[in-house]
């Protein structure tokens, strides 16, 4: 039999982790419980974070948006802070699984699962999110692209959890959006996804662009040099086609049960044009 514990505060969590250093940490459970069932011999205890209220919040604090790790995808979709300032993250949350999965699955869980296809990850890279990690000895910050090390791999030290996600508040003339291609419209794991952040000036010229790609490499991929070439241009089909072609040569897609590598490259070349739709 496996022990299941539901600490009600971070203090309780630290004490329980000290007692059970081998315990698995569960956020929404939508990935962990599927994996746990596949490995029946693993009887490590489970520490469920769902009762720790201080991990569930969305705040606008000066020049930062702070999202608690246990905030559900549904809460991201419903938050006016998110939909107003960083719509790409709300759009991505709306494409995770199904309504019931979005009620269960969390921001922190999506990050720590570190799937190359995780829907909330490309917006977090494009928005230059930082993660706040906490442990019994204190906390530290890391950029999202430093924290995620590879497929399913994150830089959590023993005893640490992901506590918050911190996203710099974008300027007033910024836009962000998320585009996903899957095998169907719902309950689909992405074949290719793209998050776009752009700061647009008054003449409608691109001041800054940051584009992040999901499902076309071991982690979310960004191409700062290709992004930089968008600077100073107005959005047009030819500019976006040029970017897409450059990006399609830089991604590292695999062929899997969902799509071939060649199809994914084709999507990368063409998805940027959706910005004009």
């Amino acid at each position: 039999m496996r022990q299941v514990m539901l600490p009600a505060s971070l203090e309780e969590l630290w004490a329980l982790r000290k007692e059970h250093p081998d315990a698995l940490v569960m956020a929404g459970g939508t990935d962990l419980l599927v994996r746990m069932r596949a490995t029946k011999k693993d009887l490590r205890p489970v520490l469920v974070l769902e009762r720790i209220e201080e991990l569930r919040h969305i705040e606008l604090n000066g020049s930062e948006i702070i999202v608690g790790a246990m905030t559900s995808h549904q809460q991201l979709m419903d938050s006016s802070i998110i939909t107003r300032h960083i719509p790409a993250l709300g759009q991505a949350a709306a494409m995770v699984g199904s309504p019931a999965i979005r009620h269960m699955g969390t921001m922190g869980g999506n990050i720590c699962t570190a799937s190359p296809a995780g829907d909330t990850l490309p917006p977090l890279y494009a928005l230059q999110a930082q993660v706040a990690l906490a442990g019994p000895e204190g906390g530290r910050m890391a950029a999202i692209e430093e924290f995620i090390r590879g497929p399913g791999q994150v830089d959590l030290k023993p005893g640490e959890i992901l506590k918050q996600v911190i996203i710099p508040l974008p300027g007033k003339t910024s836009v962000s959006s998320y585009f996903k291609v899957g095998q169907r419209q719902a309950l689909a794991i992405s074949i290719c996804s793209m998050a776009v952040f752009m700061q647009i000036n008054q003449g409608r010229y691109i001041e800054e662009a940051r584009i992040a790609w999901g499902s076309v490499g071991p982690t979310v991929m960004r191409f700062p040099e290709a992004d930089a070439r968008l600077q100073g241009s107005q959005l047009s089909a030819s500019v976006l086609r040029e970017y897409g072609e450059a990006a399609s040569r830089l991604v590292a897609p695999l062929s899997d049960i969902r799509a071939s590598a060649g199809y994914r490259r084709m999507l990368v070349a063409n998805l940027p044009l959706r910005l004009l739709a």
Partner: protein
């Protein structure tokens, strides 16, 4: 461990393994076989239940998580022999074929209509997008939810 929660309006106290899946606890220990296990991995919606009024998947929940919660399964919707308007609409519109997906569909519809009493068809489809029907009865299921929404607005 002893788990205490409210199930379909009744206080329950049951001795369960903390890592027992909620779908197994409901079906095998409590005899409520309305919630079905289709995929066991969060992809079919057949095991949907309401937890504190919000739809969740009982195949991806552990018994210990039930402590203190209010749970509604499809068995808890009718008032005695009188079906809930959503259930009645499924009957009237022929939205049930084999019936395996129906409890999950009804729970997903409950979740939607609590938040949005007057949904458009597209919103109904999105709300049911996590519930798979293999008899391909989607049209009639959407018809039923639309009809139930009207019925429930008229009652309210």
């Amino acid at each position: 461990m002893l788990v205490r929660f409210k199930l379909n309006g009744r206080e329950i106290e049951i001795d369960a393994r903390p890592d027992r899946r909620v779908v197994d606890l409901l079906r095998e220990d409590l005899g409520l076989t309305g919630s079905k296990e289709g995929c066991g991995a969060g992809e079919c919606g057949a095991c949907s239940i309401l937890v504190d009024g919000v739809s969740k998947l009982s195949c991806l929940m552990l018994a210990a998580q039930l402590e203190g919660r209010t749970i509604t399964t499809v068995e808890g919707l009718s008032a005695g022999e009188e079906l809930h308007p959503i259930q009645q609409a499924f009957v009237n519109r022929g939205a049930v074929q084999c019936g395996f997906c129906s409890p999950g569909m009804v729970i997903a519809a409950m979740d939607l209509l609590q938040r949005n009493p007057n949904p458009e068809r597209g919103e109904i489809r999105r709300a049911l997008s996590g519930n798979l029907c293999r008899c391909t009865g989607y049209q009639k299921i959407v018809d039923a939810v639309e009809a139930a929404a009207g019925e429930m607005r008229a009652e309210a």
